[in-house]
């Protein structure tokens, strides 16, 4: 049984590391990409996925229960907020005549 637990925990750690990796990718993208739209694109996608993985990793450690459901709720709310704000920023940028690749 101990092996299964060890494997179980290491899987948990794997999610956390992957999540952190996606956050790192998102931040690097934020710095590297030239214009608003690609930055928005990278930021929203990478961070949402990263957050999802971290929430999964945390819930993984706690097993089924109320806490894990709360983590799921956190992720869904963050998804909602992230996507709506991304949509608004993009629309505002488009409205104020920002072309695809001129700097913000």
């Amino acid at each position: 049984m101990a092996v299964l637990d060890a494997f179980y925990h290491s899987l948990g750690w794997l999610w956390l590391v992957l999540g952190a990796g996606f956050f790192l990718a998102g931040t690097v993208a934020l710095i590297r990409f030239p214009d608003v739209y690609s930055r928005l694109h990278a930021l929203t996608k990478a961070d949402n996925l990263g957050l999802g993985l971290i929430c999964l990793g945390m819930a993984w450690e706690l097993g089924w229960g109320r806490q894990s459901l709360k983590f799921l709720l956190i992720w869904l709310l963050a998804l909602l907020a992230g996507s709506v704000s991304c949509h608004l920023v993009a629309r505002f940028a488009l409205r104020s005549g920002l072309g695809p690749d001129d700097p913000p």
């Binding site: 709310l77 909602l80 709506v84 949509h87 608004l88 629309r91």
Partner: protein, 312 residues
């Protein structure tokens, strides 16, 4: 060991953010850095074992103050967000910096070997049972030191009266270039978030007695929903401060003062809740406080103009 490392990192990050907020040349950066500073503060309170304060800081400090600051930033820089505001600081910069550095060294020199005082903490924990609520912070806030909270609610009302005094209950603010109201996404978000905020608010209100939560946190969450509704044009701002909105603002203070004076009727002391009904009375006071806090904070965000339902 890793805990102190994390604390050291967090403290260092806080100081760096504070420094950048104060000295950054671009004003918009300063405001955004301050919002991040507020969010890190929430993490700091949680780290220091203060869930109530973390909740309040998240809802009020990081949430509402950020909304107020961004709104003020847009007003003060003439409505074009790309405006780079160069900073012209005062000539006597260096003597002031030296003075503040001296103050910092003085504070560090005095407070170096401080040990946290434990005696008052024990007395509070020992007597929480008599206070009628289990959560020690709510017990201190509404029962042991209820007088502080009574005056603090007066301060909140004063701030709103101040905003009315500056803008005048009828004054209309500058041109409001708010969100484009007819986009479907906002409708969906508002229809989902506002009921959830109301749910979280009522949970926080009820949980205040035995777990971290309480009137201020609940009121602030509801105020967040109010701000969202206001930005999304769901609340069509009224011209005059209607009597109903004025009544809503005063209900919290009124109920609290009435409950505080209730024991005076039969010879008790001010704010000494009668033994049997402490928990019920505290909940009544907290409910009234939540309503008037939420209403006051939303009104403060909208520049003091009252609301009624329906689109602009």
């Amino acid at each position: 060991m890793t805990a102190t490392l994390f604390d050291a990192l967090l403290a260092l990050l806080l100081v760096w953010l504070g420094w950048r907020t104060v000295v950054s040349t671009n004003l918009f950066n300063a405001v955004v850095l301050f919002v991040i500073f507020g969010l890190l503060m929430v993490l700091c309170w949680a780290r220091l074992g203060a869930p109530d304060v973390a909740l309040a800081e998240a809802a009020i400090g990081a949430g509402l103050t950020a909304a107020l600051l961004l709104e003020a930033y847009r007003d003060l820089t003439g409505n074009d967000p790309h405006h780079v505001h160069d900073v012209e600081d005062s000539p006597l910069r260096w003597p002031l910096a030296a003075l503040c550095g001296l103050l910092f060294l003085g504070l560090v020199a005095t407070g170096w070997q401080l040990a946290p005082p434990t005696e008052l903490g024990e007395t509070v924990h020992a007597r929480v049972a008599e206070s009628g609520v289990e959560n020690p912070v709510t017990a201190v806030l509404l029962n042991f030191r209820g007088y502080d909270t009574l005056l603090e609610v007066a301060v909140l009302m004063l701030a709103l009266l101040g905003v009315w005094a500056t803008n005048g209950p009828h004054a209309t603010l500058g041109s409001r270039q708010t969100l484009d109201p007819d986009s479907a996404l906002i409708d969906a978000m508002v229809r989902l978030l506002v009921p959830m905020a109301a749910l979280v608010c009522s949970y926080l209100l009820w949980a205040g007695a035995h777990a971290p939560g309480g009137a201020f946190q609940a009121g602030a969450v509801l105020a967040g929903a109010g701000v969202l509704l206001h930005l999304a044009e769901r609340l069509q701002p009224l011209g005059t401060a209607s009597t109903s909105s004025r009544a809503l603002v005063t209900v919290g203070l009124f109920v609290f003062v009435a409950v505080a004076c209730y024991p005076l009727v039969y010879g008790g002391r001010l704010l000494a809740y009668p033994d049997g009904q402490t928990k019920a009375l505290i909940f009544l006071v907290e409910a009234a406080l939540t309503v008037s806090i939420a209403h006051s904070l939303t009104l403060m965000f909208s520049g003091g103009r009252a609301f009624q339902r329906g689109r602009r």
